[in-house]
């Protein structure tokens, strides 16, 4: 407990310090993006930043990528489990990525955590994760094929770089030059967070800041409880399917949500974990639930651990949605998208006006890897492509955006072609992909590439077999697809090779419509006739 009782802090101070914490994590995020080297971070912003309290509870997460919360809620408890607090010194920096022992949710998301010392005691943690576009062109039967597993260990000890640790990590990376620079950007982002929190403690007093941290978590809990309480009590079930090019088939998944007063219990059922990179671990499931419940119940709840207190999440161990060692997890974001779809689909029965139809339900990914003929170095390029977002109760869905668990930028065509031996042939909204309805779903995207040099390509995504559903009589949106140009050898489980001059076209799913098409305002249909799915 802190020296200052929670009820002695006035609400204005809570608000001022709470806003300061938000601006610190946003500033850390900007520092990370600006200092980074790889396109996946500097342009696509595939990274997140956060502050944690001494016990490992989230104080504040930057508004980047909800999926990354899964890595955050895992890392501090894993660090504290292995390293006694008494052994920690200012300038210690812990690195980890492993899904089962490192606090991560998949190996490319490397997390750096640094304890923030004020007057020789730890008051909080600065944490960030960056998706390193590496560990490409791998197998996904189990996690040992997916890249280097890093438990939370010290990358810096009292401010001194542990060269041996860094060399071991870099030797296991395909593009070490990018990794090193990106890791340094992550260091800089945390260092900024440490300085800012220390300054905040100097200005307001450490005890006040710590107490405000607790007050903010209590406030998030109160807001979440108040929001859940507005939903009618009851049990709501929803079933969907999940497909992936790695599986070549669709799996049945379902959720049962029970609302009782101000509390919510969610239970997920899915098949036993599979020998493919689509499994998700419990922290990934938690981040999916926290995202979806916050979005439906009250998007303005502060993004800290207090919002999780009224929510209980269960799923049988060893299943796709609560996988155990050694299940492969690389492509878990698409599975997490389905977990979010399940929650929103079930809550639509309790609060239809707040929920939206199914979006593209995927994290459509193209991961290219090749050898630069000029210098013999490996290159890896990863990008994820948005799609339709579900129609709302009173308006159309958004076209060509990332939905729910992910929110990365694209890499502009010109920046991509300057950096990699790839040419983008088109990048556009897909006519006919939006699910019709009183309000139509969002449109999917088409992005076609031509390889200018031979490369390996891995394609990942979902809603390729079963379309995104509509709500309240709205029609489904169109499924996604991968189309290959002349001469491309058949891809196996989403992986294959492109030779120079060969092409591939990625079509991402649209989104479901909301309400019956017959109720659509005819003038609106006319204005946006390009968007509606009329097949």
């Amino acid at each position: 407990m802190s020296a200052v009782p929670v009820n002695r802090i006035d609400p204005i101070t809570v608000e001022v310090i709470g806003s300061a914490l938000s601006s610190i994590v946003e500033e850390m995020g900007e520092a990370l993006v600006r200092a980074s080297f790889s396109t996946n971070i500097k342009e696509r912003r595939d990274c997140s930043t956060a502050l944690f309290d001494r016990h490992g509870a989230t104080l504040c997460q930057a508004e980047h990528i909800p999926m990354h919360l899964g890595s955050f809620i895992g890392i501090i408890p894993e660090i504290l489990k292995r390293h006694p607090v008494e052994t920690m010194r200012p300038g210690d920096v812990f690195i980890g990525n492993d899904a089962y022992a490192g606090g991560g949710t998949h190996l490319p998301d490397i997390v750096l955590g640094e304890p923030i010392f004020v007057d020789e005691r730890i008051v909080a943690w600065a944490v960030n994760t960056a998706h390193h576009a590496d560990f490409a062109d791998r197998g996904h039967a189990h996690i040992y094929q997916e890249g280097l597993r890093i438990p939370p260990i010290r990358l810096y000890r009292a401010g001194e770089l542990q060269q041996d640790v860094q060399e071991l990590i870099l030797l296991n990376c395909q593009v070490p030059r990018e990794r090193l620079s990106d890791l340094r950007a992550q260091m800089a982002a945390n260092r900024l967070g440490v300085q800012r929190v220390q300054a905040l403690c100097r200005k307001y007093g450490t005890d006040t800041v710590l107490t405000v941290g607790e007050a903010l978590q209590d406030y998030a809990e109160r807001k979440m409880r108040a929001g859940i309480a507005t939903l009618p009590d009851g049990t709501y079930r929803f079933a969907d399917t999940y497909d992936s090019p790695e599986l070549g088939r669709a799996l049945d998944v379902s959720v049962e949500i029970t609302i009782e007063g101000s509390e919510m219990r969610l239970h997920f059922d899915s098949p036993p974990q599979v020998r493919a990179g689509i499994n998700m671990i419990y922290t990934a499931l938690l981040s999916s639930v926290y995202y979806a419940v916050k979005a439906v119940v009250d998007p303005t709840i502060p993004p800290n651990s207090g919002l999780a207190r009224p929510i209980t999440v269960t799923a049988p161990l060893g299943t796709v949605m609560n996988a155990t060692h050694p299940a492969a997890v690389n492509g878990r974001t698409s599975t997490c998208q389905r977990a979010a779809d399940l929650v929103i689909g079930a809550l639509a029965q309790a609060a239809p006006e707040r929920c939206i139809a199914a979006g593209n339900g995927s994290c459509t990914t193209a991961s290219f890897a090749g050898i630069d003929p000029q210098d013999g170095h490996l290159w890896v390029y990863l990008e994820t492509i948005g799609g339709g977002s579900g129609a709302r109760a009173s308006k159309d869905g958004l076209d060509g955006v990332h939905v729910h668990m992910t929110n990365t930028s694209n890499l502009p065509v010109e920046a991509l072609e300057v950096e990699y031996p790839l040419t983008v042939l088109c990048y556009e909204l897909v006519d006919g992909s939006a699910g019709p309805g009183r309000f139509r779903g969002g449109m999917g995207l088409r992005r076609a590439y031509r390889a200018e040099a031979e490369c390996q390509l891995r394609l990942d995504g979902s809603r390729l077999f079963t379309p995104p559903w509509g709500l309240n009589g709205g029609h489904p949106g169109r499924r996604g697809a991968f189309r290959f140009g002349d001469g491309v050898e058949p891809f196996v489980n989403g992986s294959g090779r492109l030779r120079a001059g060969e092409t591939v076209e990625i079509i991402t799913p649209g989104a479901g419509g909301y309400g019956a098409s017959s109720k659509r305002d005819p003038t609106v249909v006319e204005r946006r006739r390009d968007g509606a799915a009329v097949d």
Binding site: Y291, L398, V403, N407, T408, C426, E428
Partner: protein, 310 residues
Amino acid sequence: MAWRIGVDSGGTFTDICLFEENSGRIAVWKVSSTAADPSLAVAEGLAEALAQFGVNASDVCYFGHGTTVATNALIQNRGAPTGLITSDGFRDLLEIGRQKRPELYDLQADKPPVLVDRRLRLEVPERLRYDGRVETALDEVAVHATVRMLRDAGVEAIAICFLYSFLDPAQNYELSVPLPAEAVAPETIDGLADGFATAHQRLYGFVAEDEPMQLVTFRAEATGIVPKADIRPTDEGGPDPRAAEFGRRDVWLREVSAFVSCPLYDRERLLAGNRIEGPAIVEQMDATTLIVPGATATVDPYLNLLLELP
């Protein structure tokens, strides 16, 4: 006295902020904006502010000017109905943007309206490569057909945005008309109009007789005598730069394709006569200088860093 002045020309007010560099004194003044010609309020407000705060115009060392007028016109969609012509396959780039949604958690949030509606965004065959090579030459017949379609759809302005147009000035559809060397007189302006018509006729095969012509940029330069800046040489500090060294860092050097441990020098602490052999890094607040292997940097008496490449 050395005053820096910044002017923000807004839709309702024009704000003038004055800052005196030595004392840190700040003063602000505000006048109503003049929508028909925003420069009137800038000039009027500036004159009033100088008089109000007793500032001599000759003491103004910096003048900066920004405006929200153009931004307001864009976000309020007050411009002419506009069509867009772009490279084949990319008409939706304007709408897709960075593919991010407007709010992370709010399912009801909307993107801002797109500046050009989808049906007014048309494509023509054309493609440049990243190095400026032409992969597909511009189909001029298609351009003419597209322009007619947009005109029939009621647009009054057309934006032409091709990929890599920054690499090829010809993509910008600018017509340059040379200015005669002699002093500018009313006849010179008429001459420019004739020159534009001739250039337009040569490139596009017609002259738009009834269209008004606008002279977009006109610059006057004045030459006079100002007091010479007083820059004095600094004392010689000898060739050894080690007093300015503050550490070492591993730097990836393309020349050797490897990390090389390089000394770091603080530019502020370098003295005249200091000599640095590459590889090395010189850091200062606003720039970092890499001295590549084989190169030498020498600090001259005015503290310039002179690089000699191998």
